[in-house]
């Protein structure tokens, strides 16, 4: 049986000394989930950077939260995890109070969704949204933030009560949104009685003896008890308002708890109350033994709360055999059922009447306590089991691919016979499951191709003429690509599922279908995030422009923004592609990137059918200096073939560009080694850049950054630059210029050049016309660096127009090998 993999972030639980409230629930559920054979649980607590987690060892976690020894973090080597490393077929389950965590869900959830991770959030209540006045200002802000992330990204919500689910539905209705699927799993309540087991679920206090002085002033069954933090929402004031009436009934009042937020005035009222110390008592931060004794001797536990998520004190009172008088609100009716009595929490008379009723019929009271003595609370074992089942169902319901996927067809669009014929032997040898190659090409190419190929793979053709049927072809390369693929999906004799490739994507070794379909999921290979895509400086290529258009379209369509143009063959589900075209008919002629459009749509709509993962192609980009990699390939299974890389002094010089059954395997190994070295160089540079940035930040309090701002004193602009610059030989240095939009005017130019101290030129000048830069991006200057170590001055210049005086800055720069 395949286990459901669940990641749980317990950052708050681990940093909270007292396990109360939500942390108590999280602890009770998680400890039991660890024993559930259907689940594979990874426990997480965030790192100081808040951009990733450390993985909590199970044994240390269990030991700490059952026997109170050691640390939940364990000892020994720290294992870490980033959001990008969470497996897409897993669930990210938030059961802790995530709104308090520095890793905001508005930042985290989009990252998880891009990968296709299923997000499940536990919703305790929505009171900070519905009654924000009751909460501390930062809590409200954080909770509202968290709620918006949950509503936007959660695939499923687990509520602790029907009332909470109703509140969620009401909120979604107010927002005109479809509520996320929701399962109600009531909490457990079999907390061990604290006096019997002080080590369990307690706020570890050294003094565990009951407060005899207080207890001596209280006659058994002649006082109302209210347990919990004193805060506005709990409505303690109602009991004080009722004191006069309760005195007449000879009933005293005891508050047990701590003073909470925004209660200074009420604290004064308690202190100055005329009956304080005689008929009204406040047990401030009482011991567990005191609370237990108070529970057992109370006439009833009063719970006049204005709003509540679950109402655990009701269950605790029942466990002590004590009757409960609770606010008549849905969630408390759900928890208290027929065992509790209810009153209007806005009315003193209603409360007094409920007390009077308890006192007036001793027999009924005795019967009530007899029934409570037999009360069996719902257990945490059951709650955890149900929650585990609910999580497994979330994964099961969003089933992966069903039935056998037959992957026999590959499709290529090409106009160049020679390129196709050079790649065909690689496909023939290394993709044994492919039986047919559907070639989409001009009709004039068909005859020559048929004559030149006699390999295993059968060629079939669909000509451009058949495809276009007289329709004009767009001029732009990328527009043409997408347009043709759309026509292809609708007209060509395609299999339901097939492999799409370009004529220069070559496999590097014998591969199986698992590269494309594994464990009932299509594998979708991404190489970048389009939001981060800067493209080529200034003079963007048509490819760059297509990426920008795709980015804007994806954002507009509320889809993820990963770049799937990974330059390797990818599997396509024709049905999903057609569905996308039918949902967005206008995209055919918008010049979008066909890979990114399809896969982002598919991953967002069918997360359980896709596994988004980093690409596995080498030579994309063709040179490491083309752009900084956003993710490193997991492995090299394909090569994005570039002739130029085989020229002298280039990375693959001396290696063959055509297939040879004997030589190619060895040469491909050699290529992998050489390309890995290229990647390692960039990795080393990235590490050095990060170290430099961190040191600069430590020393000067701001990271190294370039900025240009309009001069408030009346000059053109003020340029701010790093104190010192650290560069690497041979590569290129890209620096984004943070600048006011007002300075990005037509004719404005940024220029940079590196010279030695004595004025000797070290690099040729680079110039960037600001009107050429994509409006959504900050301008980025690219400086090609010398091949030798040196130090010098980087001069940076801004001119508002050709006639304007330049604004400039000079930076001491060190170029190291």
């Amino acid at each position: 049986m395949r286990k459901t993999h669940i990641y749980i972030d317990l950052s708050r639980l681990c940093m909270t000394a007292f396990t109360t409230g939500i942390q108590r629930v999280a602890k009770a559920i998680v400890l039991r989930m660890l024993e559930n054979p259907k689940l594979e649980v990874t426990l997480l607590a965030d790192l100081p950077s808040h951009t990733g987690w450390r993985i909590l060892p199970h044994d240390a976690f269990i030991e700490y939260y059952t026997n109170h020894t050691g640390s939940p973090y364990g000892s020994g080597k720290i294992r870490t995890l980033t959001p990008q490393e969470i497996l897409p077929d897993a669930i990210f389950f938030d059961i802790d109070s995530a709104w308090n965590m520095p890793m905001r869900r508005g930042w985290l959830f989009p990252i998880l969704k891009q990968r296709g991770v299923t997000i499940v959030s536990h919703l305790y209540d929505l009171i900070p949204v519905t009654h924000p006045q009751f909460f501390y200002e930062l809590t409200v802000t954080q909770f509202l933030s968290w709620t918006s992330a949950v509503l936007q990204y959660a695939d499923h919500i687990i509520c602790n009560a029907e009332a909470t689910k109703d509140a969620l539905n009401d909120l979604c209705a107010s927002l005109d949104m479809t509520p996320p699927p929701c399962t109600v799993v009531p909490l457990g309540a079999d907390f061990v009685k604290k006096a019997e087991h002080p080590a369990e679920d307690t706020e570890d206090t050294e003094d565990t003896a009951p407060d005899t002085e207080l207890l001596s002033k209280l006659e058994p069954r002649r006082y109302l008890l209210m347990v919990g933090t004193i805060e506005p929402r709990k409505n303690h004031a109602l009991l004080l308002d009722a004191m006069e009436e309760l005195s007449k009934l000879d009933v005293k009042v005891v508050f047990a708890g701590r003073i909470g937020w925004n209660m200074a005035e009420f604290e004064q009222r308690m202190k100055n109350h005329p009956k304080a110390g005689t008929e009204f008592f406040f047990a401030n931060s009482p011991t567990d033994a005191t609370i237990s004794a108070l529970y057992e001797n109370a006439l009833a536990v009063a719970f006049p709360t204005k709003n509540e998520g679950f109402g655990l004190p009701i269950v605790e009172a029942f466990q002590h055999g004590t009757p409960v008088l609770a606010s008549d609100i849905p969630v408390l009716r759900e928890v208290g059922g027929a065992l509790a009595d209810y009153f209007d929490h806005t009315s003193v008379e209603s409360l007094v009447e409920a007390v009077r009723k308890l006192l007036s019929d001793p027999e009924a009271y005795a019967e009530k306590t007899r029934r409570l003595a037999e009360y069996q609370p719902r257990t945490w074992d059951i709650a955890a089991e149900e929650m585990g089942d609910a999580l497994c169902r979330v994964i099961e319901e969003e089933k992966g691919l069903t039935g056998d996927i037959s992957l026999k067809q590959m499709v290529v669009l090409t106009a160049r016979n020679e390129d196709l014929l050079r790649s065909l032997p690689y496909w023939d040898a290394y993709l044994p499951f492919i039986e047919e190659l559907l070639v989409v090409c001009p009709s004039r190419n068909v005859k020559a191709l048929t004559a030149a190929w006699n390999g295993r793979i059968k060629l079939s053709f669909f000509t451009d003429e058949e495809l276009l049927d007289g329709a004009p072809l767009p001029e732009d390369h990328t527009m043409r690509n997408f347009y043709l693929r759309c026509l292809l999906m609708e007209k060509a004799p395609l299999a339901d599922v097939f492999v799409m490739t370009d004529d220069d994507y070559r496999p590097l070794m014998p591969l199986t279908e698992e590269i494309f379909v594994k464990e009932s999921r299509y594998q979708a290979y991404f190489c970048y995030d389009l939001k981060e895509w800067h493209g080529t400086q200034g003079d963007y290529t048509s490819y760059d422009r297509s990426m920008f258009r795709t980015r804007d379209w994806l954002i507009g369509a509320h889809l993820p923004t990963l770049q799937y143009s990974s330059h390797q063959p990818q599997v396509i589900d024709r049905g999903i592609y057609l569905e996308m075209l039918s949902a967005y008919p206008q995209i055919r002629t918008e010049g979008l990137d066909e890979w990114s459009t399809y896969f982002n749509y598919a991953v967002a709509h069918y997360p359980q059918k896709f596994y988004a993962r980093p690409y596995c192609a080498m030579a994309w980009p063709g040179a490491m200096t083309d752009w900084k990699l956003w993710c490193q390939p997991e492995m090299f299974y394909f090569e994005n073939f570039y002739d130029v890389l085989y020229e002298e002094n280039r990375v693959f010089s001396g290696l063959s560009t055509t297939f040879d059954a004997e030589k190619t395997p060895l040469e491909n190994m050699e290529k992998m080694v050489r390309w890995t070295r290229e990647l390692d160089r960039q990795k080393t540079q990235n590490a050095a850049d990060a170290l430099y940035a961190s040191l600069h930040h430590r020393l000067y309090r701001i990271p190294p950054q370039f900025s240009l701002t309009a001069d408030p004193a009346g000059g053109t602009a003020v340029m701010t630059v790093p104190q010192i610059l650290y560069l690497h030989t041979g590569g290129q240095f890209r620096f984004p210029m943070n600048m006011d939009d007002t300075l990005r005017r037509s004719g404005a130019v940024l220029r940079c050049q590196l010279t030695a101290q004595d004025g000797k030129i070290l690099t040729s000048p680079m110039e960037l016309r600001l009107e050429d830069v994509d409006a959504a991006l900050q301008p980025e200057l690219i400086l090609r660096l010398p091949e030798f170590p040196c130090s010098g001055i980087l001069r940076l210049e801004y001119r508002a127009d050709a006639a304007a005086e330049p604004v400039s800055a000079e930076i001491h720069s060190i170029v190291t090998a």
Partner: protein, 163 residues
């Protein structure tokens, strides 16, 4: 059904909560702009462009919340509110210089990125306090437990009159 962007949804929820607060005669603690910036903030950096559109008073709230990770304290609020009328660039540069130069910022050091202001932070004065230099704490504890005459002897052996 309405399709929201992340920011639009956050703002819609904010508006709902704000209406409820207003019904109680109160307002939410932070403006919608500050809330929006906070909601979208990454945990490992503070984006200046995201804050650039805020009014000076909101900028102050956001700068404290994001760079120092706490609400602004009453003392700082009172002091900065007197300077709210300064031109935007001047006010913001002063706020950021002050925060980035503070020893408190040292604790988290969340990088401020994309800043177009001419920030020139001053390094906080580092006060070094050397206690029992060269003497491990365990040795100090042993020394303190010694009888007076042995302490004198120990000092003599160590070649020091004091310390």
């Amino acid at each position: 059904m309405t399709q929201y962007t992340d920011d639009a949804l956050a703002r819609a929820i904010y508006t709902l909560a704000d209406e409820r607060m207003q019904a109680e005669g109160k307002t939410l603690p932070y403006s919608m702009g500050v809330f929006s910036v906070m909601t979208a903030a990454a945990p490992d950096r503070v984006s200046y462009p995201a804050m650039a559109e805020l009014r000076n008073a909101d900028f102050l709230d956001a700068a404290f919340l994001l760079l120092l990770q706490r609400p602004i304290d009453d003392g700082a609020k009172e002091a900065w509110e007197k300077r709210l009328t300064l031109p935007e660039t001047e006010f913001r540069t002063a706020v950021l210089n002050s925060i980035l130069s503070s020893p408190e910022y040292q604790r988290n050091m969340i990088p401020l990125v994309g800043c177009t202001l001419p920030i020139q932070t001053q390094q906080p004065e580092v006060k070094v306090c050397v206690v029992n230099q060269g003497m491990p704490p365990r040795l100090v504890r042993i020394y303190q437990k010694l009888p007076k005459w042995m302490q004198k002897l120990a000092k003599k052996l160590a070649g020091k009159e004091e310390g």
